[in-house]
Structures are given as structure tokens and as C-alpha cells.
Subunit: 160 residues, 2 copies
DNA sequence: GCACTTTTGCAACCCGGTTGCATAGGCTCC
DNA sequence: GGAGCCTATGCAACCGGGTTGCAAAAGTGC
């Protein structure tokens, strides 16, 4: 595979040769990246588009499958860059592979932005339950709380 | 390393050549294993003893370090056997390596036996909060709940 | 065009976990 | 106490997800 960073060609491969100017979504993608101080390269636009196109969280392997023409490392670093700039957050749902989901516009990845995640045991999709804050718990005395990871397993609405 | 299953020698290595008959703890270890239908071999007794000697959860790597003379695979399978027979349960605290902790005597690893786990961000020890049941949460409609993994990070009583 | 920075590709590595297979240990039955 | 059997152990190799080092390509400013 030859490196190829030209945006329209990259997008063309994905989008049946519809080039940049014909993408109405393009501006919002661009904007979403630049808002978070991420330079909008071809791969990054594609990855962001993937995130915006589906509700379920996305793992590195998913991206590898979806973008045959992009390298694993590049996709990996794209995820890291997105995470650093708080465009996405990582989710450890216990399946052994990290997944990522878009942060909400207002998100700053502070403890208040933490929320419950849901893993469907049938379709293996993972969802952010953004409206389900993590409940308070009582720790033993002399233990102090920093952060909480809460993953609920069950059946999603499609699988039940 | 030569395989060696003789219990007293194994225990001797660990216990400065105090042999089986001189262990007051021996019977309770034996008992705890046979209660769960696990044949009390040398390695198993040692591993169980390790679990009973400390409160914090134990990972495979810990066992490898503690028992130079025992093979990784054997220790791995010992953990699996213990888990299958519900003598211990596994804890995924997000550190990348599974840890294990003794089940309570009454434990049957049913959803009711689930509890919160605590990972200290300083000493990296993980504890069962057996007295901290996992709080109820409200799922979106059409989602059904199966199980929950809840890991709290913070400072333990020794590290604060 | 040229020099410089950033992004991408490729290969190799790391680590925790897991498997296949051979051997040793211990147990039963005679 | 030996033959046969089942289990536990050891060893080596593998696997998958993640990560790093380094070189080439692409983008940027002049
Ligand atoms: Mn989320
Ligand atoms: Mn526990
Ligand atoms: Zn589902
Ligand atoms: Zn601590």
C-alpha cells in the first residue's frame, strides 16, 4: 500500500468517487475536528465520519476492517489523537479490546462527564448511556474515590 | 525445572522445610479445596495459601513471581480451576491483567454475589468491597440487564 | 524549488493470556 | 509391587490487542 494523503481520493475510495466538494457533511466534519484543534487530514475525516455514522462504540479492529487502505498504526494514532483532544473517549467494556465513542459537544472528560456503558451480550455492541450518570457509592472509611468505571451487560433494544 | 508434585517438599520450599504434618493451617486449606471439589495438590495448596494470606486480589504475574519453581501454565490453570469451582472470582480492574480474589464461603457467583471492586491508584492493589453492593441503575427502555462490572479507583486506606 | 514539520506506512516488538502435547505423579486393581 | 489409567504439571509455541522506532510521503512556509 502506498501512502496517500489526498483527501478527495481517500474519500472517493470510501464514497464511490464522490469528491470533497460534493460532501454536504464535509464542513461539519472539518469543523468538529478544528474545534478540538485537530488538523483535518483524510484519515481523520473518514474515522470521524465512521463515528458519526453509528451509535455503537468503535474499536481499532473495526476501523481496520472498514478501511482496508489505511494502516493499523495510522488508525491507532488517529484514535489516540482524537482521545487526547477529547473528541472521543475510550471504553473498556471487558471484552479485551478498547472501544471508543464520540464525546458530547460539551464534554471535557472530567469526572462529571463519566457515565455508564452498556455492552450487549448478543451483538457485542457497546453504547454510551449518556443519560445514566454513575450512582454514588459508599466506600469503606479511609478509602477515597477518584473515578469509576461501570459497565452493564445485557441485551440491547435490537437484540431482546 | 523438574515437575515435582510431592506436597511436603513443595511446601517445604516455601515454608523453610516445615513439612505437612507440622502445618496447623494445612487441614483448613485441604478442607477449603475439597469443599469445592478440587483435589488438593501441592501447587493448589500453595496458591490457596497465598490467597488467604493477603486481602488484595492476586494476578497470574504475582503468582509467577512468588513461586519461582512453578510453571506459569500450571499457575494459570490453577486459577482457572479455582474459578470454575467458585473458590475464587476474577476481577477485571482495567489494568490489563486479570486479578483474582477468594470468594466468600457462601458465594455461588450469582448476580447477588456481585460487588464493587476497588483499585488503588498508588499501590495498584485491588480489593473486593464485599459490603458494597452494586447500586441499581435505570437503563433505557428496551435494554435488559444481565450483570454489572463496577470498578472504583482511588486511594486505599494505606495510601491516603 | 528548498527546508522544515506533521502524518502515514511498515515492521518489529511487548505483554497477558491460551493451547497442544509430552511427561511425571499419584491411584486402582490385581 | 507392577501394569494401566487419569490427572496435574512443564514446556514451547502461539494469539490478539496494543505500542514503538524509523523511514518515506505529504503538507507548510518561504
Ligand atoms: Mn461513553
Ligand atoms: Mn470481588
Ligand atoms: Zn445487541
Ligand atoms: Zn493503595
Amino acid at each position: 500500500m502506498k501512502p496517500f494523503q489526498n483527501i478527495s481520493v481517500y474519500l472517493g475510495v470510501e464514497e464511490n468517487n464522490v469528491i470533497k466538494e460534493q460532501h454536504p457533511m464535509q464542513e461539519t466534519l472539518d469543523q468538529r475536528l478544528t474545534e478540538r484543534n485537530i488538523k483535518p487530514t483524510a484519515v481523520r475525516l473518514l474515522v470521524l465520519k465512521a463515528f458519526m455514522a453509528q451509535e455503537a462504540a468503535i474499536g481499532l479492529a473495526d476501523l481496520e476492517n472498514r478501511f482496508d487502505h489505511a494502516d493499523k498504526t495510522t488508525l491507532y494514532r488517529t484514535l489516540k489523537t482524537f482521545e487526547e483532544h477529547k473528541l472521543i473517549h475510550s471504553i473498556d467494556d471487558g471484552t479485551g479490546a478498547l472501544k471508543y465513542a464520540l464525546c458530547q459537544e460539551t464534554c471535557d472528560c472530567t469526572p462529571e462527564d463519566l457515565h455508564v456503558h452498556f455492552l450487549c451480550t448478543v451483538c457485542n455492541k457497546t453504547f454510551c448511556l449518556n443519560d445514566t450518570p454513575i450512582p454514588q457509592i459508599n466506600l469503606p472509611t479511609d478509602f477515597s474515590l477518584d473515578s469509576v468505571n461501570m459497565v452493564v451487560k445485557g441485551l440491547c433494544s435490537d437484540c431482546r
